[in-house]
Amino acid sequence: MTNHLNTKSLILQAWEKIAPCWPLKNIIAVNPLQGFETMPFEEAMNHGIAYFEQSNFPVEMQRINTESIKWFQAFFDEGQATITMPYRERGLYQSWRELARHDSQLHQKNRVNKNFLKNLSICSESVIETCLVNLQIQPKEKEQFLTLLLTSLPGWASFAKYKADWETNDNRLSTLKTDYLAVRIIITYLLWPNARTLLAWHETIKTEKISQDRITAMQSLELHYQQDILGKLQHSMEDRKEKKPKIQFAFCIDVRSEPVRSKIENKGCYETFGVAGFFCIPIRIKNTTSTECYDSCPVLLKSNHTIVESFHARHIRIVQGVKKLYQALKYTFTTSFALAETLGLLSGISMLFRTILPTKTTALKNKFINFSDTESPSTLSINDAVTIDTQCLYAKNLLAMMGLTENFSEIIVLCGHKSSTENNAYGSSLDCGACGGRSGDKNARIMATILNKPLVREYLTKEGIVIPDTTIFLAALHDTTTNTLSLCESINHDIQHLFDEATRNLSAQNSISKSADWAETRPEWGLARNASFIVAPRALTKDANLEGRSFLNSYDWEKDGDGSILESILLGPMVVGQWINSQYLFSLLNTIAYGSGSKITQNITGKIGIMQGNASDLMTGLPVQSLLLTDKAAYHQALRLSSIIMAPRHRIAVIIKTHPTLGNLVSNAWIHLICIDPEDNQRYRMMRNLDWQKIELGNV
């Protein structure tokens, strides 16, 4: 029994080194070295080199990985294969156990191996124990050996980690971590009885260290950037409350919001805010047409409310029906020959027009096939899912987080955001991370509806937030690829006119054609070049040209007496900012080990992830087309996030020291923390020992 407990904890320990990898339908940025975040940055980089960046595996690993990939592809498939892996519903190990005995690639027609596979224990944990013994792994090497089985095929392990830790609604997955290792170790045992050598091999490559030059280069870039941005932030801050703005916009903190906000503000008397794009309402959306159910909130939160989204348009059912018909003919025997012959001409025409007239063709396609339609938007069942009292709380919370508790305009627009790209597996990585890698329009629509309710307004008035009756909240969608803003629901002509006035001509000339082009591998730059996270009132950043490199979270320290708002900003959005930043950082530092290589040879497996070519380890992270201008020239810059907070420094220090997650990030130098202290108007840097050091401008 103690042995059992022991193995269990060894298994869990081994998995600690692996970062999760979200599926393509909602790509969430993660730090690929998440498992090493409790270590100093440089040390973690060294571990990364030893575990993830090695290219000279012992040759035997090739066959082991080939077979593992084959089976993981089959098990983790979520909608590609028509004839799926038998017994899959029993879970990874149980189903694989039934099939592996027939796999001649594993037993190689050898009787001993055949018997071994036939008599595998039903318990994946005891199989791991057996194999560890058979492979003559010493007790104190066990954890390391199991770790190496994971890190020698890190991509698939990452996906398994996601399934086990983040998709908890599936019972089959409760033993996934053990199952996964059981499959790995059995294949290893069969194909490489002398796999012990792996440990020795790891010892030899462990000594490799990251060059100090690279770290120094990164540091000097970071210092240079901080110097520059702090210089830019020095001026403003004078003119605070002027006249009442015509429209107030709330944007997501995403770096892509910043340039749009500046453009709108420059057009006239408009005010903009930055707040996490789920508008502080953690919901789960159930789409009645696609029957899909997904969380529309940051992955760190748990969604409490299931909102049903239903569509009215009849043509959606027809489109769905045609699709079904097409697939029914395509994914069976014999009929696909007729299908290809019948649709050949249409395919040719479609292919031609998508290539030579992408903008017009995509516009046509969106009109007839896609579900986006402002004339008859979907219905969201808010009242069934969220009680009115809770709605009141969310409303108050949102306004407090935005720092918008007075001086309301007549029109307040909540702008969710999404991207629109064609033929792009990474589409969801360009969507709203705060909405779990989805479009942010539903959250915006729901919050706008809630904030317009008389009951909610009454409650807010009691709480001291008086919104004039003439004020109306609207929901809009910011398309980050085309940089256009549009209202989610049709509204009366005057308001529409005011809205158009503010949001006209935001986009660059070629962005629309890029968005519509199926041959475009760089439809938009997403969050590339992100470098800082600024928690401050807009007045601080308004006149600075931040070049779209900053997450802007509105925050007014004077309205946050107890620091609770700052606390939630640092724990929520800033941590997410750091995830995003490290995803870009590491994807650039090693475009293959942490990034996913070039899009041109990518192959989508199981509808969940990316492989390179015929078959490979799952490629996690971003493709080079999201980071580089060309194969040789970078667009993104390798910088760690500089978090710049305008608040009294003792308040920040208290929060950082109370929460070990935050303390870790600063003391291990995963982020830079800079304080602009409004009390003495000085800048301070939080050192690794969590003490403050004054920054002299011009000498950062």
């Binding site: 290219s55 595996f57 990985n65 990939i69 498939d77 590609q80 028509t82 004839i83 038998p86 017994y87 027939h102 796999d103 020698s152 029906g321 699709k323 079904k324 018909l325 697939q327 029914a328 003919l329 994914y331 069976t332 025997f333 014999t334 009929t335 696909s336 020959f337 007729a338 290809a340 019948t342 649709l343 050949g344 395919s347 040719g348 292919m351 031609l352 033929n423 597996a425 589409g427 199926w518 041959a519 475009e520 591998t521 760089r522 475009t591 293959i592 290589g597 070039s598 041109i600 040879t601 989508i604 509808k607 390179q612 070519g613 015929n614 078959a615 490979s616 380890d617 490629m619 194969d631």
Partner: protein, 460 residues
């Protein structure tokens, strides 16, 4: 050596645009030129944007254009010594395009691996051409077609060698594996490969069809390889877990069908299949990067027996309309019946999918839609067949037992998919399914050296 000459000639009422000792452009060449130029043009424009920023951009574009030109030479060649180098060079260029980045070992291997098959095909073709030349003394395909004595053993040898060459090119079992291992290629290369290069085998058989037609047993062998490949390719396709290998297996299956059509003597139908499938597959490949939505339906959802009977009836009507639109007889005692049979199965499946629940309103609309589908299918086939009809290559064969077995297998496999949920379950059946699954899964894997087992070995 004959001096090249060019003139417009008409033989046997067949319009030939250009006939010289070097080039020969007839309806078949015309259709192929149209296909290659269209696909080539679209893929080139696509690649200009898709490959932007790639370190080998200019090299890639140059090779791509070189390959397309080479293909155009190949489909218009008349002289053996033009056809042969064009064939070889286009395959060589394709292999180089497949590799794209030499530093990526798995990709370099996949290119070399494909080249092995191409070399075999090339050698077979070279020997076959030499035999034809040796027998007739003519240096051009057209002349040889007229002069060759078909009952000669050497002719049979030449035809068999050419068949091997065609099978390598069109990835027919047992020469299919290079195609399944070809996914390390950049997406546009895959598109061009599946829409253009793999059709080479079909083109070769059709070009030499007059020589194959008298050899009915050879035709039957071609048919069997074709149908076998069509079936096994379809099974693999349904099992694949990644989009591009699924498409590759699907091509294997479709090529099998096309070659089977050749084996039935229905060469114009094969041309139609080759063209339409080329466009269909190129489109799917180019759009494969966006394919992240799960498949929403399969043909297996259970339905009641009434809708099945109605659907069979509608399938008959659909196949009748297909025959009417395509100009093929609905009932005949020759291999055309095979095509009608395929149309019948397709229309039945079509009707079944719409007819979820049996109701009169549903039934009437299903009737019209199925009829429309049959008509569309017929028109589509006729479009191409009409173009190549001057070649007089529609030579349906008498039905033999192998044809019946082939068609039965196609039907049974389709019915098995439909009836999957109604089949008896039990340990034994589950076990058999498991064994088959593992076997088929292993058989459809790419060559192990073309797999990137450690992602750090990947290069771009």
């Amino acid at each position: 050596m004959a001096i090249p000459y060019a003139q417009l000639i008409f033989t046997k009422g067949m319009p030939v645009l250009l006939a010289s000792s070097v080039f020969y452009i007839d309806a078949l060449s015309g259709v192929m030129i149209a296909l290659v130029s269209f696909v080539g043009l679209v893929i080139s424009i696509f690649s200009r944007r898709y490959m932007k920023g790639d370190a080998n951009y200019y090299f890639f574009m140059a090779l791509l254009i070189g390959l397309i030109s080479c293909l155009l030479l190949m489909v218009t060649a008349n002289h053996f010594l033009l056809m042969l180098p064009a064939w070889g060079l286009s395959n060589l260029l394709l292999a180089r395009l497949m590799v794209h980045k030499k530093q990526w070992a798995a990709s370099a291997f996949a290119g070399l691996y494909a080249l092995r098959f191409f070399t075999l095909g090339f050698l077979c073709l070279a020997v076959a051409f030499w035999l034809l030349y040796w027998m007739t003394g003519s240096t051009t395909i057209q002349e040889a077609l007229h002069l060759v004595k078909t009952d000669n053993v050497l002719t049979l040898v030449a035809l068999s060698l050419m068949l091997v060459s065609a099978m390598c090119q069109s990835a027919i079992w047992p020469f299919h594996r290079w195609l399944i291992s070809s996914i390390n290629s950049p997406t546009p290369v895959s598109a061009l490969m599946h829409a253009g290069l793999v059709n080479g085998g079909g083109f070769l058989l059709i070009r030499f069809a007059p020589l194959y037609l008298p050899h009915t047993s050879l035709l039957t062998i071609i048919f069997m390889f074709g149908v076998g490949t069509a079936l096994i390719g379809a099974l693999w396709k349904l099992m694949q877990n990644d989009i591009k290998r699924m498409l590759a297996c699907s091509t294997v299956s479709q090529m099998g069908f096309m070659i089977a059509q050749c084996g039935l003597g229905l060469f114009p139908a094969a041309v139609a299949h080759l063209c339409w499938h080329g466009l269909f597959k190129a489109n799917l490949f180019l759009g494969s990067s966006g394919s992240i939505k799960p498949i929403i339906s399969d043909a297996r959802s259970s339905r009641d027996w009434r809708s099945f009977i109605v659907s069979v009836f509608f399938g008959l009507i659909g196949s009748y309309l297909f025959s009417w639109a395509s100009g093929l007889p609905w009932y005949s005692k020759n291999t055309i019946l095979f095509l009608i049979g395929i149309a019948f199965i397709a229309c039945t499946q079509f009707s079944l999918t719409i007819l979820h629940q049996f109701s009169w309103k549903n039934t009437i609309s299903t009737f019209f839609l199925t009829g429309m589908a049959g008509l569309l299918y017929g028109i589509s086939v006729r479009l191409i067949e009409a173009m190549v009809s001057p070649l007089n290559l529609m030579a349906p064969q008498r039905i033999n037992i192998f044809h019946i077995v082939g068609f039965s297998l196609l039907t049974i496999s389709w019915v098995a998919m439909l009836a999957n949920h109604h089949l008896p379950t039990g340990n034994l059946i589950e076990r058999i399914k498991a064994v088959f699954y593992v076997r088929a899964l292993n058989a459809s894997q790419p060559h192990s050296k073309s797999i990137t087992t450690n992602r750090n070995d990947y290069r771009f």
